[in-house]
Amino acid sequence: MSGRPDEILPLYRAIKLVGALAIVIFLAGGLEFLSFEPPGQATGAVARIQGVYAYDSDSKSVTGRPAGHFSRGQPFAAVVDWSSIPSGTEVAARWFDSFGEVVGQAGPGDAGTMTEAAVPVALPKGLKQNIPGTYLFVVERISHGQPVEVLARRLVEVERT
């Protein structure tokens, strides 16, 4: 480069600073990831989800056969075989809607003392129907008050129509 090679250098330094800032942000993101997804937590334990069923909120019981798709107006709930999890394991079960919001929960508590026959999805505040999209149900192992391992998961679809 002839002429005045130094005039672009301040810009070059500035963009390198942007790169360094990016690395700091990625490191912070990595730390956040590791604190919520800590390594070495796999126990190999597996929970059994019997299925996801239509749910009658009056009788608080499930009906029919297990399904993977539901209409927006149909309440539904997951049935977990709590006895499939070793007693003494602290567990919780949670439903997440397509926005990633928790829309149903059981626990946390000792797997041996969990008695919920079904974990239903609750309607979001102000809505008369479920939000369409993919719903995620997970049974999680809890350690120090934080979910650290997924023991079972199930995805169901709430249809648009």
């Binding site: 390198k16 993101g29 995620l136 997924v150």
Partner: protein, 437 residues
């Protein structure tokens, strides 16, 4: 064609080939997932098919002509093919992003997003005070952001998120992973447009200022299509109020803070690389800009939950403060780079104009230097020239500034064009001057 030019074009061709294959794959997946509306898709895709047929015909005709004319036909065939691709992707985008609420809501959302996006483009176009980028390239960059980039990311993000949801513990860890995938894929898909402009349109890509302009234009295009997608989706779930709020957030509040800022960071890195001498320095500058964009995007998506919104009237204030606190610093970085770039460009413009005037070639007269150095004085001179003289003088001023910039790049050994090109530009200026009397 110089060795440097050939190398750049080959890299651009390779990139275009990879992107084309990715788009074909995305298009095939779209077709499979949209199988309930094949007839509408086929009908709206017909113009794209016609354009492909036209491109083939023109391309075949190119072989029947002498090499001198062949290039013109090849250019036409390429343009028609690119238009066909854009049109087809637009058709797919319309279905992918707007099927939730139907065509009426989608059309209304698009109409509502047009004025703010157009305003954004107008502002971005004016960022380069010395030599504004041609509208055709700015609009190509916008179309890339709206149509090509959105098509490129949709399946990459969907597949990544499907893997994440089936592998990770739901919560902030999963949110951070999804945020990283959004930042990575979206910034790569948007930034590649600026990279292609840098590789192919070197004579219209001068420095960091141009990079920021092209980058922001790509971001505005992406924001336009994404806004329509979110508005139609939320309208189908919660009604028009939710869609209206989404419009305000994305098209007013976030217009310059979100995607425009992220991709402007990519453009800044590429623009700085344009003026660096070594390959290693160039690669580092481009990588740093890109990393900055991915990090900014990641930070917004991953850490939004750390700024929870309350209820009632205070929410409105919180929404604004949240954007300012989270995206504001990155927008400030872009503005700092822009100001630094404009100062360097302006300083060199004055110096090169003065040198050109001193050379006595007649393309720039000594008394014109101070006028050409200031955008406000240039405007006053054009206004003083009257309605007929306004455009003529504008053309003359643009050519004079182009000459000064060409001199600047030649001095820094950043030009592929031979010395004769500069002489041709002087000749054109003299012609424009004599035509004006």
């Amino acid at each position: 064609m110089s060795t440097r030019q050939r190398g750049r074009y080959q890299l651009a061709l390779l990139l275009a080939g990879v992107l084309f294959l990715a788009l074909v794959a995305s298009s095939a997946l779209d077709y499979l997932s949209l199988d309930q509306i094949p007839n509408r898709g086929a009908l709206l895709g017909l113009p794209a098919v016609a354009l492909v047929a036209g491109a083939t015909w023109v391309g075949l005709r190119a072989f029947q002509h002498q090499p001198a004319d062949r290039r013109r036909y090849e250019l036409w065939a390429g343009t028609l093919f690119a238009l066909a691709l854009l049109l087809w992707l637009l058709v797919l985008d319309v279905f992918v992003f707007t099927q939730e609420a139907g065509p009426q809501v989608a059309a209304l959302s698009a109409l509502a997003c047009l004025p703010p996006t157009a305003f954004g483009l107008w502002v971005v176009h004016r960022l380069d005070r010395e030599e504004k980028e041609p509208w055709r390239l700015v609009l190509v960059a916008t179309a890339w952001g709206a149509i090509v980039a959105t098509s490129l990311v949709i399946w990459a993000e969907s597949l990544f998120q499907s893997w994440a949801i089936n592998s990770l513990v739901p919560g902030p860890g999963l949110d951070a992973t999804n945020a990283f995938s959004a930042g990575l894929f979206e910034e790569l898909a948007k930034g590649v447009a600026v990279l292609l402009l840098y590789l192919v349109m070197r004579d219209q890509f001068h420095d960091v200022v141009d990079g920021i302009v092209y980058g922001a234009a790509v971001g505005l295009g992406f924001n336009f299509m994404e806004s329509i997608g979110y508005m139609t989706y939320l309208d189908s779930l919660f009604g028009p109020t939710a869609a209206g709020f989404q419009w305000y957030h994305r098209q007013v509040l976030d217009l310059f803070f979100g995607h425009a800022t992220y991709t402007a960071l990519v453009g800044a890195g590429i623009g700085i690389a344009r003026q660096l001498p070594g390959r290693r320095q160039q690669a580092l500058a481009i990588a740093c800009g890109w990393l900055g964009a991915i990090a900014a995007h990641f930070a917004w998506d991953a850490w939004l939950t750390f700024f929870p919104l309350g209820t009632g009237a205070i929410t409105l204030i919180q929404v604004h403060l949240r954007v300012l606190a989270m995206n504001g610093p990155f927008t400030a970085v872009v503005l700092v780079l822009l100001v630094m770039g404009r100062r360097i460009e302006g300083r060199n413009l004055v110096r090169q104009l003065a040198l050109e005037a001193d050379s006595g070639a007649g393309a720039v007269r000594p008394e014109e230097v101070s006028v050409l150095a200031s955008p406000a004085r240039r405007l006053r001179a054009r206004l003083a020239a009257g309605p007929r003289g306004y455009f003529r003088l504008g053309r003359l001023q643009r050519a004079q500034i182009a000459l000064a910039l060409e001199r600047w790049h030649r001095e820094r050994d950043e030009l592929d064009l031979p010395q004769e090109a500069e002489q041709e530009l002087r000749g054109r200026i003299l012609q424009l001057r004599s035509a004006g009397g």
